[in-house]
Amino acid sequence: MQNRPTKFLASLYGGIVIATISSVPGLNLINCFCCAGIMLGGLFAVFIYSRQLTSEMLPLSAGDGVLLGALSGVIAAFLSLLLHLVVYALFGNIAERIIYEIARSILDATNVPPEASQMFEQVFREALERGLTPLVLFFSLIQDLILYTLFGLLGGLIGYAIFKKGTQQIQPASPAP
């Protein structure tokens, strides 16, 4: 039996997919569909890893799927934080501004009472002025770690269900003589 390749590289690819989808404004709307972008990253990591396995190696197992998906999520949480900082440094609060413009156009198109419109303006103005603080970044990282790991793991499991070759059953260890 040959040694299996390291899981880190496949997880890194998965993490890059998750972080890119989650951090690029507009593209991150994919995650509005039950974290599809995050699950896609976990699934991608399993796909990459399954392609690296040869017939001389142990086949892909469910544990591999879980580990690859979860690890992709953890890597993505840190990469995402980095990308957020880069996007913020380059474009400022672009995501909030896009949401503001969309919401503003919806409000303008409908007959919203002036009080509600003023309240909306105030809330968004405060959010845009607040920007990124260390506390916001910390809580953002914690939330990302929970969500990305959880949904990355689910993506890894789906990936295993799709990319496993044939039915593999784990045999219980034979008792020691």
């Binding site: 509005c32 039950c34 974290c35 197992s61 469910a62 544990g63 499991l157 269900a161 799709i162 260890a173």
Partner: protein
């Protein structure tokens, strides 16, 4: 096809907590715990657009996620319960095995959502709360049949690894 109680309990309680968190914000608002509601809305805002017009409401406040997402999660939870009943009913689990062995077919369950969103975007059909909920429920119901079997395998693998390392430690100590 066998299903251990541990795997089932993990999936059941995880999805139960998730589903309870979805209805928690409107209940919190109803009882005046606005900060708690804001915190939960904030958490779920990272995974859902939470548009008021696309959401189901409870006590005049929207749920933590949109109607489609809520339908997927509640469909999943209901399916987790049905999964156990289904396994018991078939006893040998033969029918479940057939479904599990074709996960690609099960991915077809996402088709109603894609059609609903795609045709709505093209202006062919209007996506409504009913179509969002129905398409979401179909996908949610299918998911446990894809996720539970590999989760079961992964847990078996983990147990095996733990017991092997435990045996190794005992031998090392001897």
């Amino acid at each position: 096809m066998s299903l251990s109680k541990t795997t089932y309990r993990i999936v059941f309680f995880a999805s139960l907590i998730w589903c309870l968190s979805i209805i928690a914000p409107p209940i919190a608002v109803h009882f005046g715990a606005v900060r708690l509601a804001d915190f939960i809305y904030g958490f779920f805002s990272r995974i859902c657009h939470q548009l008021d017009s696309h959401s189901l409401h409870l006590f005049d406040a929207k749920l933590a996620v949109c109607a489609r997402c809520a339908a997927i999660y509640y469909g999943f939870f209901v399916s987790v319960i049905l999964y156990l009943l289904f396994l018991r009913k078939t006893r040998t689990g033969a029918v479940t095995d057939v479904i599990i062995q074709s996960p690609r077919r099960l991915l077809l369950s996402i088709l109603p959502i894609l059609l609903d969103v795609g045709l709505s975007e093209l202006g062919v059909h209007e996506s409504t709360l009913v179509t969002r909920v129905m398409s979401g429920v179909i996908f949610g119901i299918a998911l446990p049949f894809i996720l539970i079997p590999p989760a079961e395998e992964a847990l078996k693998e983990l147990r095996l690894k733990l017991s092997l390392s435990f045996l190794g430690e005992i031998r090392h100590a001897e």
